[in-house]
Symmetry: C2
Subunit: 331 residues, 2 copies
């Protein structure tokens, strides 16, 4: 099992270092934040004094390097990787995949890069917010792109599974479109709702209960983190924002003209049922032979159908697919 | 203490009947739903065989009548009230206040009407979803309008406090504007998010985690309930929808032109801080003498500043105000 070098010890990096160490893997970390480094060291983890030292050790040990820094810091860390650990297997946990893949190809072209993204988060950040159980049953995207080496892909997928996650194989492009819908749009709607709720003084906030609290929760995330992920996914986010604006505008028009919100509210209700159906449906088992010529296509098909991989061994990926009617999940 | 007659035994009516009975008040209910009536009777509550019988008993006992039916059913129940219990003290728990006040004045002009709205709910409905603890610490709007009789207002406010709620005095108009912001807009944004998340097949839903689940939770509410409350508040909801559309459109424009979502995301973040400040601020005690000439204005000022009333006795309302700087809650 390859050693692990985690650069960045915030919520995700810190949780990964804890979880990987717990599975018995040799793992060390480093961060530019001396507060996070000190806290991690106090908690008994193997923390190098600087990012450079961590990457030199990774090069010596041929470790897997995990970039666990915000998108805005990725370029600078990749330059250090290219200088000190240029041939390492490299993955990341950033919330957008195409920009990172392009950066890695441009700045650290000698490394073997496989993009990754665990779908786990809270509104808290930093080492103290981390938790070895953060990834339990969470989806962890491991990207299958045209140039992806499947042996390296399997190594990254194995790390994700070892720390409790379930692997979703998809392309960087489809990942970015998906997270625009289910992560970046929710953050923007939460910001809009929080602002509109507060813009008229104390009375509305005094009456706010469950629907407002739920709808605004992620607006409390540190703004620079939300900005980094949403602005970094601009190309995929724009058409999704247009979808949302179109639907909200249509609701406004219908309410003004006919007084009906039926189309909007029914569509939302049906969509929540489609999601519940997909989440609760029986699963059919799937096996993908990673040595087969069509393995990339088979993995991409599995991800596109809502499938997840829960086991990897002997060049075979074992997973499960929700058994959906044609109508489900396609509302 | 006046007896209580609750018409409608869904989530709110059923919870109120349970809570009022628990405080020792003589209380009975009735509903058009034989399933809810049977369940309530099985649970040991005093359920009349029909709405008419419940209202005749209210007239005999000069009870307080609570309309706990959806807005769409209010007109029909009010006609029965006007026929069988025309002089009773009447309140309601409907989520819009101006339309109900107008209906009551038109259909049951001999009754003394005081509008009410407990800000408590779940996505579940029906008798089985009810809970005597539903109103604990919840805001319960009791309306102070131009024609409100303060003695009757105090009786309704006492009922709300008796079942654990805190009373927010405000006008029907300001109530409707406030709930458009903090309840009806969240329901519409949840519907939009749920639909946009599901419109591209199973992959995005397979990756959906906390931000999407929180942002879509209330889209699972029965569509006819959401429609009744949002469509019934059309006049107040339209300008709030325009605010949200304007802000989301500005975010779209900024992302497309400059690549920045800073204005949107920072405004959302600042608003969550304003709300936390308001919720967590020290309270200053307030007393309102309900016999004073300016009592209505004093009550409205208390509500406008985010205050709540927690005690009523001897014509004095005792409450507390958050101590806010001028900037707080006014973002």
């Amino acid at each position: 099992m390859r050693d692990l070098c985690v650069i960045g010890l915030g919520l995700i990096g810190g949780s990964l270092l804890r979880a990987a160490t717990q599975t018995g893997r040799t793992a060390w970390g480093a961060t530019e934040s001396s507060a996070d480094a000190d806290a991690a060291r106090t908690d008994g983890f193997d923390i190098e004094p600087a990012v450079e030292a961590a990457l030199r050790r990774a090069a010596e040990r041929d470790a897997m390097v995990v970039l666990a820094v915000p998108l805005t810091a990725a370029e600078s860390v990749l330059r250090t990787v290219a200088e000190l650990a240029p041939h390492c297997l490299l993955t990341d946990v950033t919330s957008v995949k195409q920009p990172i893949a392009e950066l890695a190809a441009r700045i650290a072209p000698q490394s073997t890069f496989v993009g990754g993204h665990p779908m786990a988060g809270t509104t808290r950040s930093g080492w103290q917010a981390g938790d070895a159980q953060l990834f339990a049953k969470a989806a962890w995207v491991v990207c299958v792109d045209e140039d992806t080496d499947l042996t390296s892909w399997a190594e990254v997928a194995t790390l994700a599974i070892d720390v409790g996650a379930e692997v979703v194989p998809t392309s960087s492009e489809l990942h970015d479109e998906a997270v625009a819908r289910i992560s970046h749009l929710p953050h923007l709607l939460a910001a809009v709702l929080a602002h509109v709720g507060a813009e008229d003084g104390p009375l509305p906030l005094s009456l706010a209960a469950g629907s407002f609290s739920d709808g605004t929760r992620v607006a409390a995330t540190r703004p620079e983190l939300t900005r980094a992920m949403a602005e970094g996914n601009r190309a995929a986010l724009l058409p999704v924002l247009d979808s949302a604006l179109g639907m909200l505008g249509a609701a406004r028009g219908a309410l003004a003209s006919t007084g009906s919100l039926g189309a909007t509210i029914n569509a939302g209700y049906e969509a929540t049922r489609a999601r519940a159906t997909q989440a609760g449906s029986p699963r059919s088992p799937v096996r993908v032979d990673l040595t087969a010529a069509d393995a990339p296509e088979a993995l991409l098909a599995l991800g596109a159908q809502g499938g997840r991989i829960t086991e990897l061994s002997d060049d075979v990926a074992v997973g499960a697919l929700p058994m959906l009617d044609d109508d489900h999940g396609q509302q």
